[in-house]
């Protein structure tokens, strides 16, 4: 059974800080919709969502202090998802540029 050193009690402060930041970022996400940035509204919304997700993964899910194997799983699965989305979207977006072969 592993020893648990009483001097090393992890702090709860990061959890409160992240929760606060997440709530602020949520309000920001909502607030940005009141401003017209054209196509950048979507970009900003996604960027904020990515920051929120990163905070949750790093702090709440303890990715910060996780093993290299865990990091490998996280990075590869996100890369796979991005590949799926980019590979699918580049097909549809370029159909208006060069048309569909055979049609």
């Amino acid at each position: 059974m592993s020893e648990h050193s009483p001097s090393h009690t992890p702090s709860r402060t990061p959890y409160f800080l992240v929760a606060g930041a997440l709530l602020v970022l949520t309000a920001l996400t909502y607030g940005v919709t009141l401003v017209d940035l054209g196509p950048f509204n979507t970009v900003v919304a996604l960027a904020i969502a990515t920051v929120k997700a990163a905070l949750i993964v790093l702090v709440f899910m303890h990715a910060r202090r996780s093993s290299a194997l865990t990091w490998l799983v996280i990075v590869v699965s996100v890369a796979m998802l991005l590949g799926l989305m980019l590979g699918t979207l580049d097909d549809y977006v370029t159909r208006t540029w060069i048309g569909v072969p055979g049609k």
Binding site: T9, P10, L23, I56, F60
Partner: protein, 220 residues
Amino acid sequence: MSLAKPRATPEHPAAPARPFDHHAHEHATSVLGMWVFLSTELLLFGGLFTAYAVYRYLYGAAFREASAHLNAEMGALNTGILILSSLMVALALHAAQTGGRRSTAVFLALTLLLGTLFLVLKGSEYYGHFREGLMPGAGFAWEGEQRRAAELFYMLYYIMTGLHALHMVIGLGLIALMAIGAWRGRLTAPHPTALEVTGLYWHFVDVVWVFIFPLLYLIH
């Protein structure tokens, strides 16, 4: 080999299951296993987000109009509720790791409360959509030539939020189990593994909603 194991207590934790030599090893493996499962979940929801991206690209105007009928304030409120629930789960795990049996159970009970509130609000939203005739199918009430595209938006909305809600229900079941285990003193420091992997699942469900909210509710 006897299959009957003596009940674990905080004073006499169970020996690590085979083939593990140490609890730390067993714990690390369980955590990694949950991460691998979550990567499959990421691709599950990711497929739906990809479909959403394609159809939003193709039918941008209709999606914008359809999204306007969703209650963004409700969505924002639900986002806040989920964020607080994730905080509760993180605090519960911290309490379990530092030996606080009662506070662990309290934090988990709060998580249950918040999660249930989310589902109740979501259900009331669905009911509101039903009343407005925004259910895809024969009764879909939409004027104009963008009718099919708007219907498509709502199909994606119901499938994505519905799948998310299903994950919430499963998560709440797990949280309830953990709360009972915590109350009975079965979550043992320093590695309350079952609670930790449950927490990972719950945070993941929160991350999914973090993307659902702006993409479905806030199309500008």
